[in-house]
Symmetry: C3
Subunit: 366 residues, 3 copies
C-alpha cells in the first residue's frame, strides 16, 4: 500500500491542475475514503454541501475541502477549489487502477486456430474465441467471455467475466466492458405476416469506439443492416439497452436502465439519466440532457434539457409537474368558480328577469 | 457471398408475395444495406418517409421503393407496394440466417450421463447439462449455457452463450434465446413474518413455446406452483422481465426493458412497447397494445391500445398529456377567472349593496 | 415424492402457527398446485378473492380456504384464517427446497492455490476462484461463477450459474444469488474534463448481508470509496440495479427493474415496487413503500407510501392521477367559465355602459 505525506499530495494535486494548500499538521496518508467510512490515516473529502454535518464525525485524519468551509481542528486540511476533481487525483495516486490477475494465454481458453491474438495477452481459462477473430495487444479477457467469429477488438481492452460479443462486431482500443454485457445480439427485427412474426436476418454489426466503458449486463443490438455505433469515449452504466441501428456519438453518458430503441441518432456528449427511454428513429442533438425516467418521443435539439414522459423542456416539465401535484386543488377552485358564476347569473337575472346561458353546458363527461 | 441480378430478385420477391417490377438497368447485387451504409453493388430500400432525403445521397446501386416515389436516375429501382416486406425477403435471399460454428458434441462440454441428446448436436465446450435433461435434434448450445436437471428442450433450438435454464423448465421447438438470458429462476415469493421474509419454495416451472425468440439478458421466473408460460411465436427484446406464474399468449411482442409482474394473463398478439410495466394478477386481452413506459395497473380489454402511467386508452392519454404540458397556462386562466369574477361581484354589489359569496371559499390548501 | 394425509397436514399447519381444520374426506395428498394447474391428489388454495370463480373448475382434491368461503362439495377443505401463510408451509412440507446437484470440489473448477474453501464444498466445473478468496462451509457455486481476488463469502451460500463477484466484495451467510447477477462492478464514476470523462478508480467494495436473496441479472456497484451495502434479509427481484456507495437496510424488498442511483441511504423493511427509480444522495426512511414506476426525487420519510414520478404521497398521487385522466374535461369547463363570464360582463356593461376588464387577459401562450 502506498503511503504519502499530505504536503507531497498537495504538490501532486497542484501539478495535476487542482491547486491545493495544506492547513494543519503534515501527516502520512495511506488511502482515500468517504466521510463515514474513513479511518485514521486516511484522507476524505467534502464536496457536496449535503454532507457538511458528517465532517464533524469522520474518523479520517485529513480532508480535502473548499477554502472557507469550517473543518474540525483535529483534521489536517487540503484546501482546494475543486475537491471532487482533487479527490479523483488523490484516488489515482494512492490506490491506482484495478490490477487484473495474470493468466497469459491460458491453455484452457478455447481459441480457434484462425484467430489472431496480439502481444502480451491476458486471456483466462473458460474464454472462447471463435474463427477469424482478431484481438489486439494487451487485452484482458476474464473467464466466460465469448468472441464470436469475425470479431475484432483493439489494443488494451478489458472484458470482465461472461461478456459476449456476437459475430463480426468490433471494439476499438481501450474499451472496457463489465461482466455479463452482450454486444451485437439480434434486435427485434421481424416482418409481420398476419399475426405471425417473420424473422429478418440481422446482418449488420455493432461497433464500439475507443475508450468506451460499458457497465454490467448491458445489451447493444447489432444493426439489421449497416451498423449500430457507440462513439469514442462514451460511458454506460449498468443494464443499458441499445436498439438495432442506433448511432451514439462520442463522450455520452447513459445511466443505468436507459433504453434506446432502434435507428436513433444521438449526438456528442449527451447525458441520459437513469431509466430514460428513447423511441425509435429519433435524433438527439449534441450536449442534450434528459432527466431520470424521461420518455423521449420526439427529436431533441442540441443543448436542450428535457424531462418527463413524454419529455418536454425541463423547466416546462417541472412547472407542469408542480401543478399536477396540486390538481385536486385546482379542480376545487374551478368548481368554486362555477358555483360563484351561477350565483352571479341568478343575481343578475333577478335584476332584469332575463336568463343568461348556464355555465358548463357544453357536452362533457363530468 | 451470393450475387444476384436485380431481375432475378424481382422474380423472387414476386413469388414470395411482394410483386416487384424492375425500373432502370439490370445489375448484379451482392448485399442489402441501409441508405446511409450501402455501397456500390448493394441494394437499399425506402419505406419510412422520414428517410426520403437520404435516398439522394446513398451510394447503393439499387433501391426498393413504392411506385410514385421519386428516386435519382443513377439508381435501379424495384418498385413494390411493401418495401419493408420485400427487403426482408431480399435479406434472407442475399444474406441468409446466421451460420453457427460447428462443435458437434464437444468433449469439453460437461454432460451428465443421464441426459439424452438428440441427433446432430452442436454443443460447445463450456456447456453444462445436468441430470435427466432431454435435448432435441439439431440444437445449438453456445459456451457457458447451463441446463439444470430435468430441463427439456425441443428440436432446432439455439441458446447463445451463457443462457441458463433452471431445473425442470421446458422449451418447445425452434426456440432461440440470446446471450445471458435466464429461464426459470425463482420469483420474489416470500411470506411475511413480521418484518422478515420467509422463502416459499418455487416448485413450479417455466414453459417456453415453439418458435419463441427471447432477447439478451432477459429473466423469466418459474412459477411458485404450476407454470409460467410464454406462448408459441412470441418474441421478446432484451432485458424483458417476467414474473412468476404469468401466462403470455402466442405471437406477442415485448420490447426491451418490459417488466410484467406475477400471475398476469396476457392474450395472443399483444404488443408492449419499451419499458412498459404490468402489475400483478391482471388480464390483458388479445391484440392489445401499450405505448412505451406505460404502467398497466388494471385489466386491458382485447384490441385496446393504452398509454401512460397508469395506462388509459391511448387517445385519452394523449389528450391529457397535451393538457398536462400546458398546465401552467390553465392555472393562469383559472386565476384570471377568479379575479374577473371578483370584479363582477364587486360591480354587481355596487349596484344594489348586497354581498355575493366570494369565489374560492371552500376549504383547500392553495 | 412425499405423500401426506390431509389430517396430518392440518396438524403440521396448526403447529406452524396456522391453525387449520379439515372439512370433508381425509385423503392422501402428494403436492401443492394452483387452482388452474392442480391435478387429482394435489391440494390447492384460495387466498385472493379474484380467483373465487376458479375454485369451481379446479381438478385438485383439496383446497386451503378461509372459513365461510363456499367450496364445491367434491373437494376436501382445510379451513384456515391465513391460506397464503398456510400454503407456504404446505409447499415446504410437501416439496421442500431445491436440491442442488452434488459436485463436491469438481477438479475442473479453476481455484487459485491461495484461496481457502470451507467444509463440504459444492463447486462445479467452470467455476473460477481467484487469489486470496475465502469461501465458507456448505457453499454451492454453479458453473460459470467467478469470484475475483480477495472475495469473501460466508457459509451456506448459493450462487447460481454465471454469477460474478468483483474483487474484495463480501457476502454474509446464507446468501443466494440467482443466475447472471453481478456484484461489485465499477459504478459510473468519472470526473468531467471538458467533454471527456476521466475514470475515478472505484476502490470501494460491495457488502451483501446475511440471508440476502438477489434475483437474476441484477447489478450492484462497488463503492467508489467505502462500501455499497445490502442489509441482512433483504430480497431483490430480477434486474435490480444499485448504484455505487448506496446503503440499503435489512429486510427490504425491491421488485424487478428497480434502479437506485449512488450514495442513497435506504432504511429497514423498505418496499420498492417494479421499475421504481431513486435519484442519487437521497434518504428513504424505515418501512417506506413506493408504488410501481415511481420516480423518487426527494427524501422519503419513514413509513411513508409514495407514488408517481416525481413521487409524492400515494393518496395525493392517486387523486392527481385521477384528475389527470379527466384534464380535457376540466379544460372544457374552464373554457365554458370564460365564455360565461364574458356573457355576464357584457350583460352587466349593458346595464350601465361601463367596461369591465375582460377575462383571460394576462399574458399567456394559449
Amino acid at each position: 500500500m502506498v503511503k504519502l505525506q499530505l504536503s507531497k499530495l498537495a504538490e501532486i494535486l497542484t501539478q495535476a491542475g487542482f491547486p491545493a494548500k495544506l492547513e494543519g499538521k503534515d501527516r502520512s496518508i495511506c488511502g482515500v475514503n468517504t466521510l463515514s467510512d474513513a479511518r485514521d490515516s486516511e484522507i476524505t473529502f467534502l464536496s457536496n454541501p449535503r454532507y457538511v454535518a458528517s465532517v464533524k464525525e469522520t474518523a479520517a485524519s485529513a480532508v480535502i475541502a473548499r477554502p472557507g468551509v469550517e473543518i474540525p481542528e483535529r483534521l489536517s486540511i487540503l484546501r482546494c477549489d475543486d475537491p471532487y476533481g482533487a479527490v479523483t487525483i488523490a484516488i489515482i495516486t494512492l490506490h491506482g487502477h484495478r490490477q487484473h490477475p495474470r493468466w497469459g494465454l491460458n491453455p484452457q481458453a478455447s481459441i480457434d486456430a484462425s484467430a489472431k491474438i496480439g502481444a502480451n495477452p491476458n486471456i483466462a481459462a473458460g474464454v472462447t474465441i471463435a474463427a477469424d477473430v482478431v484481438v489486439g495487444d494487451n487485452c484482458t479477457l476474464y473467464p466466460g467471455c465469448y468472441l464470436a467469429d469475425g470479431v475484432r477488438i483493439g489494443n488494451d481492452c478489458t472484458l470482465f467475466p461472461n461478456v459476449v460479443i456476437y459475430n463480426r462486431c468490433e471494439l476499438g482500443d481501450r474499451v472496457t466492458i463489465h461482466a455479463g454485457s452482450v454486444i451485437g445480439e439480434d434486435g427485434l427485427g421481424y416482418a409481420p405476416n398476419g399475426e405471425k412474426w417473420v424473422k429478418i436476418p440481422q446482418v449488420g454489426r455493432a461497433l464500439i469506439g475507443d475508450d468506451v466503458e460499458i457497465g454490467a449486463n448491458c445489451t447493444i443490438d447489432r444493426a439489421t443492416l449497416g451498423q449500430t455505433e457507440i462513439g469514442a469515449g462514451t460511458k454506460f452504466g449498468n443494464v443499458v439497452v441499445i436498439g438495432h441501428g442506433t448511432k451514439i456519438g462520442p463522450d455520452c453518458m447513459f445511466v443505468g436502465l436507459v433504453g434506446v430503441a432502434g435507428s436513433v441518432t444521438v449526438g456528442r456528449h449527451v447525458t441520459l439519466a437513469g431509466q430514460v427511454g428513447v423511441a425509435g428513429h429519433l435524433a438527439i442533438g449534441d450536449g442534450a440532457m434528459a432527466g431520470a425516467q424521461s420518455g423521449i418521443a420526439a427529436d431533441v435539439e442540441a443543448k436542450a434539457t428535457v424531462f418527463g414522459s413524454p419529455a418536454i423542456p425541463m423547466d416546462n416539465a417541472k412547472r407542469s409537474m408542480y401543478v399536477f401535484q396540486k390538481l385536486p386543488d385546482w379542480v376545487r377552485r374551478i368548481k368554486d368558480l362555477e358555483r360563484e358564476v351561477r350565483d352571479l347569473r341568478e343575481k343578475l337575472n333577478g335584476h332584469d328577469e332575463q336568463p343568461v346561458r348556464a355555465a358548463g353546458t357544453s357536452p362533457r363527461t363530468p
